[in-house]
C-alpha cells in the first residue's frame, strides 16, 4: 500500500516505511543508540530526497528521544543540569548548522556534503567500534590485562567557568559540555542525526561522566536539539515531512519493543561487532555511490520562489 508523502512529494510503500522505522527502533532497543545515523542513509536509499530525509529524521528523533528519556528518567539516571549546559551549546550549533545547510543547498552541494559526511562519520565510527570489540574479545582471553585509570588530568581541567554536576559526580568547566554540544548541534542540523553515537563516547571519555547517566542525559539534550533543527528546517528549507516522521515513529515503537527483548538474549560483545559491521556496510554503500559514474552527468533542481 503506497502512501503519498506531502513534503517529500513521493509515494512510498507504507509497510517499507514501517519496516524501516522498526529496524531502526529494533537497533535502538538492542544497542541503546538513537539510530538516526542509519535512518537518514536508509531513507535516501529508498528514494526520499536527501534534504527531506535529513530534516524528517530530526523530527522522528524528537519522538524517539522523548520515549527514551522518559524510560531513563523513571530509573533516575538523567543529569538535568549537564543536559541543559550541553543544550545551550547544541542550540547555537544547530543554528549555525541550518545556516550552513541552507547555503550548501543554494550552491548545489548539499547532497554531496550529506553523503561525504556520512561516509566519514560512519566509516570512522564503524572502524573504531570494530577495533574496540576485537580488542575486548582478545582481552577476554587474557585475564591478567591492565585496568585503565578512571580519568586523566589534562589541559581541559584548567579551563575557567567551573561548575558542579552532582548527578555526574563532576566538577569541570562548563565550557567543555558547551563546546561538545555546539559541535554535535552542527552535525545534527547538516546530517539529521541526534549525535548520540558521538555524544556518548565523548561524555564518557572526554567529560569523564559515569556510564549509567550518559544515555539518558545525551537523549535529553537530543530532544531539544532535534526539536530546534526540525523547526529551523521547516522554517528555512521546508523539508520536514511530518507524515514520514510519524509513520517511522509508529514502526520504531514496534521495533524497539522487539529489540529490547532480543537484546537481553545476545552477548554484548557480539552485538557491538554486529553493529560495527552494519555501520561499515552503510558507509561502504554510500562511498561506492559517490564514485560510481552517474547515469546522467546533469541534474535538475527546481528553484522555489
Amino acid at each position: 500500500m503506497d502512501i503519498y508523502l506531502p513534503i517529500a512529494e513521493v509515494s512510498l510503500d507504507v509497510f517499507v516505511l514501517l519496516g524501516l522505522g522498526a529496524v531502526v527502533g529494533f537497533l535502538s532497543g538492542v544497542f541503546g543508540v538513537g539510530g538516526g545515523f542509519l535512518l537518514t542513509p536508509l531513507l535516501i536509499f529508498i528514494g526520499v530526497p536527501p534534504t527531506v530525509a535529513v530534516a524528517s529524521s530530526a523530527n522522528q528523533l524528537v519522538g524517539a528521544s522523548v520515549s527514551g528519556v522518559l524510560a531513563y528518567w523513571r530509573r533516575g539516571v538523567v543529569d538535568f543540569k549537564m543536559g541543559y549546559v550541553l543544550l545551550a551549546g547544541g542550540l547555537a550549533g544547530s543554528l549555525l548548522g541550518v545556516w550552513i545547510f541552507t547555503l550548501l543547498k543554494r550552491l548545489g552541494q548539499i547532497e554531496l556534503t550529506i553523503s561525504v559526511g556520512y561516509v566519514l562519520l560512519l566509516g570512522t565510527l564503524g572502524g573504531l567500534m570494530m577495533i574496540e570489540s576485537i580488542r575486548t574479545q582478545l582481552r577476554l582471553h587474557r585475564p591478567g590485562a591492565q585496568r585503565r585509570k578512571l580519568h586523566y588530568h589534562n589541559w581541559m581541567h584548567g579551563l575557567p567557568l567551573k561548575a558542579r554536576f552532582r548527578r555526574s559526580k563532576l566538577y569541570i568547566s562548563a565550557l567543555l559540555p558547551i563546546a561538545l554540544g555546539f559541535v554535535i548541534g552542527i552535525f545534527s542540523a547538516i546530517l539529521g542525526i541526534g549525535g548520540g553515537f558521538i555524544m556518548v563516547p565523548a561524555m564518557i571519555y572526554m567529560l569523564g561522566m559515569p556510564t549509567a547517566v550518559v544515555p539518558g542525559t545525551s537523549l535529553l539534550q537530543i530532544i531539544f536539539v532535534a526539536a530546534n533543527v526540525t523547526v529551523l528546517q521547516a522554517y528555512t528549507n521546508r523539508t520536514v515531512d511530518a507524515v514520514l516522521a510519524l509513520v517511522l515513529l509508529v514502526g520504531g515503537v514496534i521495533g524497539a519493543r522487539i529489540g529490547s527483548r532480543f537484546g537481553t538474549r545476545l552477548r554484548g560483545e557480539q552485538l557491538r561487532l554486529l553493529l560495527a559491521l552494519m555501520v561499515l556496510a552503510v558507509a561502504a554503500k554510500l562511498a561506492f555511490d559517490l564514485t560510481v559514474s552517474p547515469a546522467d552527468l546533469y541534474s535538475v533542481a527546481p528553484e522555489r520562489e
Binding site: M1, D2, I3, Y4, P6, I7, E9, V10, S11, N59, Q60, L61, V62, G63, A64, S65, V66, S67, G68, L70, A71, R74, G108, Q109, L112, V116, I223, A227, T230, V231, L232, Q233, A234, Y235, T236, R238, V240, A242, V243, A245, L246, L249, V250, G252, V253, A256, L290, T291, S293, P294, D296, L297, Y298, S299, V300, A301, P302, E303, E305
Partner: protein, 258 residues
C-alpha cells in the same frame, strides 16, 4: 486569427453525459454558431490524493471544415537549475550550473499530422509547438554551445520524469470534423494551473485557437499539510515537533505497566 479563452469556470466536470453524446451535441451545435474551432476536456481538475498514480484527460472538439489540429498542454513555468557533475578525486561533484527561467513544469503536444508537414518552423516557434520550439531563457552568460548542452540535458531529465513527451502524440479525427486526443499525466505531475491550447491549422498557418485552463491540485489531508507547511512554516515545524513528542510519550507508556 482569434484566441478565445474558454472554460473559465474551473470545476470538476464529472457530468453524467458520456463522451460520444457530448461529441454528438458538439457536432450538432457547432455549425449553427459558425465557430471555426470548439474543444473541451472531460475533466478540468486533476486531484492528487494519497495513492495518486497518474491521470488521463480526454480532449475532444470539432472544427467547421477540414484542417489540422495541434494540442499543446503547458504546466506553470518554473525556474530550473541544471548542474553538471565532474569527477574530482574520484568523487562526482556538481561543478557547473545554468539556471533557466520560464521552463514549463509539464509539456505535452499532440498533432493530427507530423508537425513539420503542417507548420513552418517560424510558426511552431511563435506558438510553442513541439519541444524544439520551447523558449527557455538562461540566466547565466555562458556560451551558446554550453547553454544548448544544458537545455538538452534539462529536456532529457524532464522526459525521463515523463513531464516532457518523447514524441508528439496523435490527434485522432473521427470523420473530417470531430477530433479527440488523450493527455496522460504521470504520478509526479506538478501542481498549478495548466493551459490547454488547441490550434486549428490550415495552409501552414494557425487560423483559430482556443485556450482552456486545467487545474492540477493536491486535495485531502496531504494538500492541507503541504499548504500549511508552505504558508506557516514556523508553526508547522512546531506542530511537527509537538506531534513527535506526543507520539514518543505514548510509545513510552506501556513500558511502565510492563
Amino acid at each position: 486569427m482569434s484566441i478565445r479563452v474558454g472554460g473559465s469556470a474551473v470545476r470538476p466536470s464529472r457530468s453524467g453525459i458520456p463522451l460520444p453524446a457530448l461529441m454528438l451535441i458538439l457536432l450538432w451545435i457547432s455549425p449553427a454558431h459558425a465557430e471555426a474551432l470548439v474543444a473541451d476536456l472531460t475533466n478540468h481538475l486533476i486531484a492528487i490524493t494519497t495513492g495518486f498514480t497518474g491521470a488521463s484527460v480526454v480532449l475532444f472538439g470539432a472544427i467547421d471544415r477540414p484542417g489540422d489540429v495541434v494540442v499543446v498542454v503547458r504546466g506553470p513555468d518554473r525556474e530550473m537549475t541544471v548542474r553538471r557533475k565532474t569527477r574530482i578525486a574520484g568523487i562526482w561533484v556538481n561543478s557547473q550550473e545554468v539556471t533557466f527561467t520560464s521552463v514549463p513544469s509539464f509539456y505535452f503536444v499532440a498533432s493530427s499530422r507530423p508537425l513539420a508537414e503542417i507548420v513552418s518552423p517560424a510558426t511552431a516557434g511563435l506558438y510553442g509547438l513541439g519541444i524544439e520550439s520551447l523558449q527557455m531563457k538562461p540566466w547565466n552568460t555562458a556560451s551558446p554551445e554550453v547553454i544548448d548542452e544544458f537545455a538538452t540535458a534539462l529536456a532529457r531529465t524532464q522526459q525521463r520524469a515523463k513531464l516532457f513527451p518523447n514524441s508528439v502524440s496523435r490527434v485522432n479525427f473521427i470523420g473530417e470534423r470531430l477530433f479527440r486526443t488523450t493527455i496522460e499525466f504521470p504520478a509526479n505531475v506538478p501542481t498549478g494551473t495548466y493551459l490547454v491550447e488547441v490550434f486549428l491549422i490550415r495552409e501552414r498557418d494557425v487560423v483559430s485557437g482556443q485556450t482552456t485552463p486545467l487545474v492540477v491540485s493536491k486535495v485531502g489531508i496531504d494538500a492541507d499539510v503541504f499548504g500549511f507547511a508552505g504558508r506557516q512554516p514556523g508553526l508547522y515545524g512546531a506542530i511537527a515537533v509537538f506531534a513527535a513528542m506526543v507520539a514518543g510519550w505514548l510509545a513510552s507508556l506501556p513500558f511502565r505497566s510492563a
